[in-house]
Symmetry: C2
Subunit: 727 residues, 2 copies
């Protein structure tokens, strides 16, 4: 029976891989007919891959050392080490492929936008010498573009198609490798507890990737903006700015590799936690444990999630194989004919949303059927547990959107506070972030209580799996944003017509609402997964109770509660330090390279890439190692109950700080954009200057410390879980 | 036997009161010989008293309603209601007397500084018409000042003497009323559990006083600074600024009434927690409970602390009765003759430090003797528990000082980050605050583990009592700061010679190091007291275990962990909102009152006082009520274990946020001052502007939200403790 589980998991993992491969083949077919765009794309590609190579070469010894320690540890041994290394390898591979594809899609997206434009628009290029030639050569693919077949016949549509193809490859590779890795670990170990080392490998890489990526991207971003835009007064992504390449590389390093590793970790750990709990959970107080039924259910949920995601992607993208067939089938469903028509007519935002909803709908239906198949009389309990988790995640996403979007009064109030100066912008953003912890935490609590009531801790664990089961499509939507963003950067640096940039900006904006839902699911699932892993730890460590009246547990709680603060402090400092180096370097180049400001001399972009790379790698060490070392130390010194307390404390402050920092950062970002749209005296006003400060404060909040906290709490918990036999 | 405890407590409470009364009589003797100073002092006095009157009239119905609910509650009844009302009354009375004395000392301090100056200095008044007359009439007391008898024969010394007298009255009234109130409650109830309602009364008033006071003072401060200093470019405390009076009133409302109520609450609750635990604690696992020995020990510690504090104050102040006699005795001790000589020679900073150390030394010696008397064979365990707590508190104070003083690299780094702009100042301050949670939390953990190992939870509880036992003198030092600060404000508004302002600024600075120690003790004791109250709650609610593997406890932890964030957000918003009203009003007056900027027309200060008063009162309601209502709700809806989890979560994030916010705020404040001292381009530079933003962000951090959090966690715990019979 367990071999059957392995087989099914492998098949659906392979299916995701196959889908990604097919889309990639189609993507490769399209050519970049503009030499400057192609050149920039390949510079960014090389910078990004060079960073990854270096990052992995730094992480390899770390993985090796931990693997040796695991082999040497009594009660763990080779199996755990194998799973750990495999988890790290799969995560790294997913990051590698994702980055490879994303940096191959950015230039193609730019070119698709350019090529799809009307001829007269193309001629309005700012000053590029290559443009006419480029536009001419571009005409061929444009006219060949299958207007009636594709959902998107406009320039924006072409570009969306390319960018989304890139994003969907990232998404599918992550879930595919996740399932394949899990299947292999399970095949070789056949022990759900040892299997959790796979999650530890994934989490370790994820934390380093998130922190390193976050430092890289923000150092380059701040350096490019502060010296370029503010001091020298040149536009964003101006080719004269030596940090611009690093900035564009950084978008990939942070938002593709970092986010990919992050979601790989979330996905894998939610499944693992549910498997570990499912193996021993029983619906009756004296009854039999679920055993393989409990282990298999999360795997089947995930497998079905892959299928649902693929169908969702096919609704969005014509590049997908059999997209036409699938749409045909969907169109035959009651009420769906109009929906498919609207997608085919080219409503891009609607297509993204529909694709996600179709995947979600399929997922819910599948969950219901799987619940019946696996749990007979308890089917409804399990199904409702999953549903409560998914609903909570979606509402958290909506609440997050309301707190951080310029369309609502919260962000508008932050923008309005720029009337009384910079300090009030900072204060109102901080206050908003703190307040925004309220509803999500209550929703997490509600979902925990409902799931627990219905199906015990197994219910909580599968709720998290449910939230993440359609990671395939939600990561596709998430990852397409940075690709579009990068495409815009390339357009700017290639001095293409302004319309191209407008298209890419528009594309970037379209996915935001859908991405917000994904973010909500990520936050909610992080909390639930951490709780499930925490319970799995207490099972594995044979702890009867973690009583907070016990002073060791109290001490653990306090130390655990402190760690997220220390971690955030280290991350923020790392970004500041790295940004400081970058600022100095850009200032130096502007000062020392003659003719750079007139566009006669080329800036030394490589130096900036090196600085970001070096800073990211050196600065990620301390926070990363701390996250692994402190739980181990506390476990050995103060015992397993204290370690339980530590995990509890870390989850509590970690969840709060993650929500606080992510939402403060998001609100400042959009308050600035809101002012740039012309409100409160608009761009260039003192209001705008105040909002820019808020945005800069928010950068490490939302892109470095905040998202890394979600990984931190799971990494600490999974480390404790893997090492539980030692305490 | 218990009547004997009541008697001793009453006697030492009365002793503190007697001491305060005698010092007050001496203080009253000195006259203010400068009409403008006297006038301003009385305006501030009236504004402050009017605020208190209004605040109490708002709080009275609240106290009444809660009292009625307590009477009606099954298992509580009249006794609890009586203790609750008495606690609220004593806190309010301590606040009232403290404010009364402080606002009567500020003008006297100004005048003492003026009168003590050499005659030629006095003539250098800026432009005051009254000054010559004032200086003449001032000569009489100056020449009469007993040069050889007093420790302080200079102008600064005279002023210090007056300001410290005021401060010591505040300190002694707080501890005196604390002991007297406790004694009466104990006399009438003779039940340590019901007695905790006294602490609930004290905590409720403290939270409202801290939050209301914090809002009041920061609204006035920001309003006065932003429009006066920044927009209109007039100096601080300029009489033309209509918000200046409100600002000076605010210093008293926040730093005297707020801090007094805060320490009253800390003091009383630490004693109550130790009494509740001591009553049932046993040194042997099967032995007899300590009973009255456990109840009496914290009371005796506190009583001895009063005596120690009084001796310490006598070392500092000549106005104290029998000061000469006490000093004579101390001088005869080995090695102390030189110390007394140095004090008598007029080294003010040394005097403050010595007074505190003498009190501390006496306290430690007394603790040792009391431990032997109370606990025979376990004496050393108890003594070391107390000592570990006190040491932890002192080191926390030192660490806090290192993180927030301009003399060390941390604040200097924040100042240095102004080179790269406002955002980096904000980020480095936030990062510093987060990092500063580390060592204090580890020290709290260490002290908890040691005390617990030595004397169980009783050890933890008495460690907190030990930390706060010399509140009498440490609050004296704390409270003298704002009196000196106010004296400076009056000097500025009266347009006295610059030397007077310099003296008061100097005085303000002298007490800082000593005050830092007091702050450390306050933070450490808050954490330990909260833990002790928490354990007392679990005893009172008959909870076996609060197991964080129980989902109700997890949910409680998460909700509890969230509350400090919501509370901080509400507080920050309240300050912003109130400051906004003030800014508009000051702008309006500058615009609409003709001749105001030329000094020809008087500003409407009353309007500003009204605005601050109204804003403080209306905005304190929601955070205050939330702190009481949420634990009650969770207790009723989710049960007593979930409520236990809530308290645990609130303590964890509350301690972290309190440290983070207080230290970030302190660091920004001193980074600004460091730049104003001439570093990093000094005052008026862009660096300075960036630091001012940091300081403004820090204002609600360190003066509103941060300190209120210490009360919040204790209030929630004591509410749970009092209502425990209901759950």
């Amino acid at each position: 029976m367990w071999l059957f589980l392995v087989f099914v998991t492998l098949v659906f993992g392979a299916l995701a891989g196959l889908y990604a491969w097919t889309v990639y083949q189609k993507l490769e077919e399209s050519q970049i007919g503009h030499p400057r765009v192609a050149e920039l794309s390949s510079i960014i590609h090389e910078g990004a891959m060079a960073f990854l190579k270096k990052e992995y070469s730094w992480l390899a010894p770390f993985v090796g050392v931990v693997a040796v320690l695991l082999i040497a540890a009594p009660g763990l041994g080779l199996g755990s080490a194998f799973a750990f290394v495999l988890g790290a390898l799969c995560s790294a591979t997913a990051g590698w492929i994702g980055m490879y594809v994303a940096t191959n899609s950015n230039g193609r997206t730019t070119y698709a936008a350019l090529a799809g434009m009307p001829a007269e628009e193309k001629k309005s290029a700012k000053k590029s010498v290559d443009l006419d030639k480029a536009a001419d050569s571009a005409e061929a693919p444009t006219t060949e573009a299958p207007k009636s077949e594709g959902i998107l016949s406009t320039a924006a549509g072409n570009a969306l198609e390319v960018a989304f193809s890139g994003g969907s490859i990232v998404g599918m590779v992550v879930v595919g490798l996740g399932l394949i890795g899990l299947a292999f670990s399970y095949l070789f170990l056949n022990d759900v507890t040892a299997l959790t080392a796979f999650g530890m490998g994934a989490s370790s890489i994820a934390l380093f990737a998130r922190v390193g990526g976050g430092i890289y991207t923000k150092a380059a971003d701040v350096g490019a903006d502060l010296v370029g835009k503010v001091e020298a007064g040149i536009p964003e992504d101006d080719p004269r700015n030596p940090a611009v390449i690093a900035d564009n590389v950084g978008d990939n390093v942070g938002d593709i590799a970092g986010m990919g590793a992050d979601l790989f970790e979330s996905y894998v750990n939610s499944i693992l936690a549910a498997m570990a709990i499912g193996a021993v959970y029983s619906f009756t107080s004296d009854g039999e444990a679920l055993g393989l039924w409990g282990i298999g259910f999360p795997l089947f949920l995930a497998a079905w999630g892959v299928f649902s995601s693929i169908v969702g992607c096919m609704m969005i993208s014509q590049k997908a194989p059999y997209a036409g067939t699938v749409r045909g089938i969907v169109a035959k469903l009651p009420g769906m004919a109009g929906v498919v028509k609207r997608i085919e007519d080219g409503d891009a935002a609607f297509a993204l949303r529909t694709g996600t909803f179709v995947a979600g709908g399929l997922m819910i239906a599948g969950t219901f059927i799987l619940s019946i198949f696996f749990f007979f009389s308890n089917a409804f309990n399990v199904f409702l547990s999953v549903t409560s988790g998914v609903l909570a995640g979606i509402i958290i996403g909506i609440v997050t959107e309301i707190y951080t979007s310029g369309d609502y009064k919260f962000v508008q109030n932050v923008a309005a506070s720029s009337d009384t100066g910079t300090a009030t912008v900072v204060l109102s953003g901080l206050s908003l972030g703190m307040m925004s912890t309220g509803i999500p935490v209550l929703l997490i609590c509600l979902s925990t209580l409902i799931s627990y009531y219905l199906a015990g801790m197994f219910g909580v664990a599968v709720a998290a799996v449910g939230m993440l089961s359609i990671t395939g499509i939600s990561l596709s939507v998430d990852a397409y944003g940075p690709i579009a963003d990068n495409a815009g950067g390339i357009a700017e640096m290639s001095e293409l017509p302004e319309g191209v940039r407008k298209i890419t900006d528009h594309l970037d904006a379209i996915g935001n609402t859908t991405a917000a839902m994904g973010k909500g699911l990520a936050i909610g699932s992080a909390a639930l997964t951490a709780l499930a892993l925490f319970v799995a730890y207490s099972q594995a460590a044979h702890i009867d109770k973690i009583d907070i009246m016990n002073p060791y547990v109290i001490v653990g709680l306090l130390i655990g509660g402190m760690l997220p603060f220390i971690f955030c402090s280290l991350s923020i400092d790392a970004v500041s330090k790295a940004a400081g180096f970058m600022i100095e370097e850009v200032r130096r180049q502007f000062r020392e390279i003659p003719g750079i400001m007139e566009g006669k001399a080329k800036p030394d972009s490589n130096r900036c890439v090196e600085i970001s790379t070096h800073a990211a790698l050196t600065q990620m060490i301390v926070p990363g190692v701390m996250a692994i070392a402190v739980p181990v130390l506390v476990g050995f010194l103060l015992g397993k109950e204290a370690l339980g307390g530590l995990l509890g404390g870390a989850i509590v402050t970690g969840v709060m700080m993650a929500l606080f920092m992510a939402n403060s950062g998001g609100a400042w970002d959009n308050a600035k954009k809101y002012i740039e749209e012309g409100h409160f005296n608009g761009k260039g006003s003192p209001n705008h200057a105040a909002a820019v400060v808020g945005d800069t404060v928010g950068d490490p909040f939302k892109d470095t410390a905040g998202p890394a906290l979600n990984i931190l709490i799971k990494l600490m918990t999974v480390v404790a879980l893997v090492l539980a036999p030692l305490f």
